[in-house]
Amino acid sequence: MNNSAAIEVLGLKKSFGENHAVQGVSFNVNQGEIFSLLGPNGAGKTTTISMLSCLLRPNDGDANIMGHSISTDPMGVKSVLGVVPQDLALYEDLTARENLSFWGKMYGLRGSTLKTRVDEVLNVIGLRDRANERVGKYSGGMKRRVNIGVALLHKPKVIYMDEPTVGIDPQSRRNILDSVVLLKNEGMTVLYTTHYMEEAQELSDHIGIMDHGKLIAHGTHDELVKMVGQQTRIDLTLNGNADQVMAAWKETEGVSRVTSDEGLISVLVQDSNLTLPHLFEAATKHSARITSVNISEPNLEAVFLHLTGRALRD
């Protein structure tokens, strides 16, 4: 991974009347890494992407994309950038090949170079066999793949993907996530927005969490989890004297908290692998039998909950 910044975001602000959509967002994305902006709908992710795509002018702040300022050199920015918009932005009455060919021309490709790139991209998105069908006849997942393919035509150094997996089937989603990793492996820098915690967790080298127009935290997955000190939660059900067992568990090494709610006992531990055997021992000692166990590792959902007091999908 190259540590020089592909994307430098410096105090971006954007308001629409009284709605302060983005309020001084700053972050860096290194070349060749995947940076995910995670946040609920309305957090300001798309507005941020729109400013970084030169579609919206920021009220304040600036950003440099591969050294090109979005304020002073928008054409330079656009030439190194591929954008996969949240909504499908394709001509449904044209075929996939015609779509790719047209968008390739808009990125300045011509002649044999254009033809070669169109064929290559059709291979990448797996639609070469159906390239001459009108996009309007494609399934949602296929359209998404063409939507991504358009952004790859000119081999951009940086690619923005704005919620590319919204509203598609699990198989197409899997394909898209795999293709994002492939792009990274080819050296592209990917700025990825999503409100799916699992996607950000799986894909990202770095994650920024946005809420109400602000970047409330950013770092690697582990850094974020550590930042809020989250522990693994073990949920158990018991057949026996729950009070005695719970009292014993509270004294067990590695356990920080034990609570009970309608028969379900939650135990917060530092390391579930080390602590779980001791929990079984204590239960056996009090002639109780553990009938179910569920382990929840610390995750971004919990981080978001900790930072905002709300669940990510609220």
Partner: protein, 434 residues
């Protein structure tokens, strides 16, 4: 180059839409075709024939003071014993044979019944005292004209023939009365010659009454040249209608194609275009170019198709080319202008139903008022309040064989409209996307 790519892409999309193609080419040709068949039977020569008017005549005239009328002055050359006979002779003449078919009946009632039973379209009842009234200085000679109220053309032709005849006879009566008052008693035997001379001038001068009785006009205010005069009646009706349809639907296409800017905004392809290294000016130029090119294809195809299908002569090449450019520029800029005021395509329905229809009909009003001098003048004024009217004016001038300079002047006015529309439209779109 990118602008051209955008225009080509838009044209491809336009011509892949069955709905758009039908409206661009099918409807104008279809409407004109309907008029084509509505206005008459197509002959091998491309002309059309009027059906004969069935006329029943009850000549009850008992005659009166006689004056000799030279048979050569009566179409058909037959002698006439009364004014009623004279009318019948004229109407039965060979010259009228192509227009009317005469049946003589003995009574007024029989004549009216024939019309009531739709066996005839017109009944002419000449009263018993018709000749007497005519001969009487203070008399009033009246013919009863009884027609099927549901018909217009046949009865109108008959009324025109009779009016002309009665005007002539009134002239004779005035001439005779004047002669009797002024002549010496020994000169009264010359009364017959006075009548003959008058008839020579007023009745017999027209060798072909059909030509004179049917006032066949060229649509361009009587400014006919040789080429226009050679057009037959059907084409003189169909040509302007086709031209009007072409202008009406060219404006529809201009507006509809320009709406692709809003459509792309809604389809999110326009914002995506703005993320590519393509300037806003290039993108908008491409969109405007696509409107211009699409309307161009439509106009060229319609001009050629109408010529091949209906035989419409549009005029001299230079005038037609200039006029076509005028329509294309005008329709394109109007489309850009109107769409620049729309928030989204949903408003387009109101636009198409309202502005385009109203302005289109205003522009075409001259075409449908061309057979009435007063309505034609009024229609001319109204139509020039909208750009379509100027486009149609240029078209009619080219069709009427007017000079290139006249056509150029009209197209120049169209260009001025266009420049204003285009400037406003571009300014508004630029402001919208900046």
């Amino acid at each position: 180059m990118k602008a051209f790519d955008i225009a080509l892409k838009d044209m491809t999309r336009s011509f892949r839409s069955t709905f758009a193609v039908i409206f661009m080419f099918g409807v104008p040709l279809l409407v004109t075709g309907m008029f084509y068949f509505m206005f008459g039977n197509i002959t091998d020569e491309g002309g059309f024939t009027l059906p004969k008017t069935q006329v029943v005549i009850a000549n009850l005239d008992e005659g009166g003071p006689k004056f000799q009328v030279n048979p050569k002055n009566i179409p058909g050359g037959k002698e006439a014993d009364s004014m009623g006979d004279l009318i019948v002779s004229i109407l039965q003449s060979e010259d009228m044979a192509d227009l009317i078919e005469i049946t003589l009946v003995p009574s007024a009632e029989t004549a009216r019944t024939a019309v009531d039973n739709q066996e005839s379209q017109v009944a002419i009842i000449i009263p018993t005292d018709f000749s007497h009234q005519f001969a009487d200085v203070d008399g009033k000679a009246v013919i009863e004209f009884y027609q099927d109220p549901t018909l217009t053309l046949g009865p109108a032709i008959m009324r025109s023939i009779l009016n002309r005849f009665m005007d002539g006879m009134s002239g004779v009566k005035i001439a005779v009365n004047f002669f009797v008052d002024e002549a010496e008693p020994e000169q009264l035997f010359l009364t017959g010659q006075v009548v003959d001379q008058y008839l020579e001038v007023s009745l017999a001068e027209n060798d072909d009454p059909e030509v004179e009785l049917l006032d066949v006009r060229n649509p361009v205010d009587g400014q006919k040249n040789d080429a226009a005069e050679n057009q037959n009646l059907l084409l003189s009706i169909i040509g302007p209608i086709m031209g009007g349809m072409m202008v009406f639907y060219a404006y529809y296409t201009g507006t509809s194609t320009a709406q692709s800017i809003l459509k792309e905004e809604e389809e999110r392809t326009l914002p995506r275009l703005f993320t590519t290294p393509t300037s806003q000016a290039t993108i908008l130029t491409g969109k405007f170019l696509s409107v211009f090119m699409t309307v161009s294809v439509q106009i060229i195809v319609l001009l050629i198709a109408a010529h091949l299908i209906f035989g419409i002569e549009w005029g001299g090449f230079a005038s037609v080319a200039l006029m076509a450019i005028g329509i294309i520029v005008s329709a394109s800029s109007f489309g850009v202008f109107v769409n620049s005021f729309l928030k989204d395509t949903k408003q387009g329905g109101v636009l198409f139903g309202g502005i385009l229809t109203v302005t289109g009909m205003m522009g075409m009003i001259k075409i449908f008022a061309m057979n009435s001098a007063i309505a034609n003048k009024m229609g001319d004024t109204i139509s020039l309040l909208v750009p379509q009217g100027w486009a149609i004016r240029g078209l009619m001038q080219a069709m009427g064989g007017e000079s290139f300079n006249n056509v150029a002047l009209t197209v120049l006015v169209s260009f001025l409209w266009s420049a204003a529309f285009f400037a406003i439209g571009v300014w508004r779109f630029n402001r919208r996307y900046t």
